[in-house]
């Protein structure tokens, strides 16, 4: 089976442009609280979401905007929700971390790992009520260490539930490198629960689509759950205003703020050995270095990759680009007339 590349490109672009518009509104102070964007994750979500149909369910984490966009939830309702409007998707009660679309069996949670049990519950209901329907959990590499998520994978396997666990691995949980707090390998871990577990290139929408097609087919025919992990790179870091990204982008102003208390602390008489203090500083420097590298040196972008694949079909691409741009502009205009 081969995906429709134009359709994938359209969904990825819609998501990207939508989130860029959200970023602008957030910067203007119109959206409150944290804002976790999925810019850079766009190959993973559409690879799965474009194969879902009515009756399928989604369990999302704090970064759930793109799957909702791709499942066709009204962009205006989403924007109005982020703006805290009484006409928003959740009447201004949820915000971007707590998005719910009952007609699409889609629920989000800001509690890391909650997507696991939620998908399992949706899948259980499917087994009784909607044969052939699937439930997908989207979560991060950090969430993979949450107990309830591991328990959920076991339960899905033991009950042969039509669930698909999709791990979007950006190698970070906020400012923690996941490798530094994770024992073993996540794919092997999932496989140990007795389900097919696959690593896929998370920047390659086509590869994700193909892997997801197998997992979805397996779930639809009652053969049980699967696990898919894709690595990706997120340019906006954990959330807008991410402290490490801020240091990487504005080193002078940020470091002048962080450095004085840090230098004072390191210089204190009592504390650990000099070597251990140096090790701590090295670790912080390393995290900043990795962030700088991700900001400036790594140029991989899932959207650009697919655009390159479609290179020869310039006219069709430009048409899609124009349509998406207009759609997003219109959504912003409808949500915030005359901004």
């Amino acid at each position: 089976m081969e995906p429709d590349l134009f359709m994938l490109y359209r969904q990825m672009l819609r998501s990207r442009l939508f989130e860029e518009a959200v970023m602008e509104l957030w910067n203007e102070g119109r959206i409150s609280g944290e804002m976790h964007l999925a810019i850079g994750e766009e190959a993973i979500c559409p690879g799965v979401c474009t194969q879902l149909r009515d009756g399928d369910a989604l369990a999302l984490d704090h970064r759930g905007t793109p799957p909702l966009v791709m499942r066709g939830v009204s962009l205006v309702l989403l924007l109005k929700e982020f703006l805290g409007s009484p006409d928003g998707l959740c009447r201004g009660w949820g915000g971007h971390m707590h998005l719910f679309a009952p007609e699409r069996l889609t629920a989000s949670s800001g509690i890391v790992g909650a997507a696991g049990p939620t998908a399992v519950g949706f899948a259980l209901a499917h087994q009784h009520l909607r044969a052939g329907a699937v439930a997908v959990a989207f979560f991060g590499d950090g969430a993979a260490n949450q107990g309830m998520l591991m328990e959920a994978m076991n339960l899905a396997s033991a009950w042969k539930l039509p669930a698909i666990f999709v791990c979007k691995d950006n190698q970070w949980a906020i400012t923690t490198r996941s490798a530094s707090v994770t024992g073993g390998d996540l794919v092997a871990r999932a496989a140990s629960f007795g389900m097919p577990a696959v690593e896929v290139d998370g920047m390659d929408a086509v590869a994700v689509w193909k892997t997801a097609a197998t997992a979805i087919a397996r779930a639809r025919t009652g053969e049980g759950p699967s696990f898919i992990k894709g690595c990706c790179l997120r340019s906006e870091g954990h959330f807008l205003g991410d402290p490490l990204v801020r240091v990487a982008r504005h080193p002078i102003s940020e470091i002048t703020e962080i450095a004085p208390p840090l230098i004072k602390a390191v210089g204190k008489f009592s504390g650990t050995t000099l070597a251990a203090r140096a090790e701590s500083l090295m670790k912080i420097t390393e995290l900043i270095g990795t962030t700088v590298k991700e900001q400036y040196l790594v140029k991989d972008d899932p959207l650009k990759r697919l655009r390159d694949t479609l290179g020869a079909q310039k006219k069709e691409c430009e048409q899609i680009e124009e349509q998406c741009r207009r759609e997003i502009l219109q959504a912003v205009e409808d949500a915030l007339p005359g901004r």
Partner: protein, 340 residues
């Protein structure tokens, strides 16, 4: 005397304690960045970053405390404690009784709480009443930098499990991290006296479970804690202009609860209002009324609390959380009722 931020005071007191007692170990998600100064000074073995595995590391912190360590386990926000509450409910809080008084778990659980910056109902709860409901668990909530540092020491000195709640509207780094994100385009109603203030040169603990009177008054007692203490003090200024003298009590500790202090004040005023950012029903506000009734006091009673899930939208959130306006309104109602 020095001037310090609320967050700076916690860190300073904690650093003082860590320098004295090598058994104090900080653990939690992202502590290498969130506590970067402690991480740099005390190293990675004493400031340990964890995976997002709260049930495991909180459970481990409790047992480590049983085995001689003094862990300060950080749950990023109190809302997230739900995934690990078993460690406190069924283990830390039960240990002293189960062991016939022979074993205790001196663990400090440090966690951020509270709303006022638009993150919504899974990130802005207080839950101190919910936690204090459990026998064997102490729960403290500072409202000023001086108390923030001193209560951290008190918590570390306590021989049982303590939940130490740090309100995000008072802790500047949390508010910037979660609310502003570096933006100048948003603003928050931060109580100045809570976010920054005088602190002692050398930290000392405060007596365990003791409230303080923030403002004297003879007409009405307002018992409160955390950010709401500041809202209540502001409301008391408004009320003073109307000729109403409100006494504002800062509880500082939910469990143990200083019912003596509240009782003494209510004996004088015969009117009590509890201002509690935690949920209204089945919580602290009702508990205070019940304990005073058990003591045989007669008084008029009112409360300003959070009554429902905290909404995401800032304007809805402002209406949901205890505010100066809501407190003044409730006080007027209370004053319009004849003393019993």
């Amino acid at each position: 005397m020095r001037e310090m931020s609320f967050a700076g005071a916690i860190e300073d007191a904690l650093a003082q304690a860590m320098a004295k007692d090598s058994r104090i170990v900080v653990m939690g998600e992202d502590v290498h960045m969130l506590r970067v100064n402690l991480f740099a000074r005390f190293g990675k073995d004493r400031v340990r970053s964890t995976p997002i595995s709260e049930a495991a590391f909180l459970g481990a912190a409790v047992a480590a405390a049983m085995a001689g360590l003094k862990p300060v386990a950080e749950i990023m926000m109190v809302d997230f404690i739900a995934v690990a509450v078993d460690a406190l409910l069924n283990h830390a809080a039960k240990l002293e009784r189960f062991s016939g008084g022979n074993w205790k778990a001196p663990v400090v659980v440090r966690t951020a709480c509270g709303g006022g910056y638009g993150d919504g109902g899974q990130h802005e709860q207080c839950l101190w009443g919910w936690l204090a409901h459990i026998p064997g668990l102490a729960v403290v909530v500072p409202s000023t930098p001086a108390d923030a540092g001193a209560l951290m020491l008190s918590a570390l000195e306590h021989d049982g499990p303590v939940v130490y709640l740090e309100h995000k509207l008072l802790a500047d780094y949390w508010l910037d991290y979660l609310g502003a994100g570096g933006r100048k385009s948003v603003s928050f109603d931060v109580p100045a006296a809570g976010a920054k203030g005088p602190v002692p040169d050398q930290w000392e603990s405060v007596p365990w479970g003791k409230a303080v009177i923030r403002k004297d008054g003879s007409d009405l007692t307002i018992a409160s804690l955390g950010v709401s203490v500041h809202r209540a003090s502001e409301a008391a200024e408004d009320l003073a202009k109307e000729g109403i003298a409100a006494e504002v009590i800062d509880l500082r500790s939910v469990a143990p609860l200083d019912i003596e202090a509240i009782s003494d004040s209510v004996a004088k005023t015969a009117r009590l209002m509890v201002v509690d950012e935690d949920y209204k029903e089945f919580g602290l506000s009702g508990e205070i009324a019940a304990q005073l009734l058990e003591r045989g006091l007669s008084f008029r009673y009112g409360r300003v609390c959070t009554e429902d899930t905290v909404p995401y939208a800032r304007h809805l959130e402002d209406e949901a959380l205890p505010s100066r306006g809501r407190i003044v309104q409730a006080a007027r109602t209370l004053m319009s009722q004849r003393k019993p």
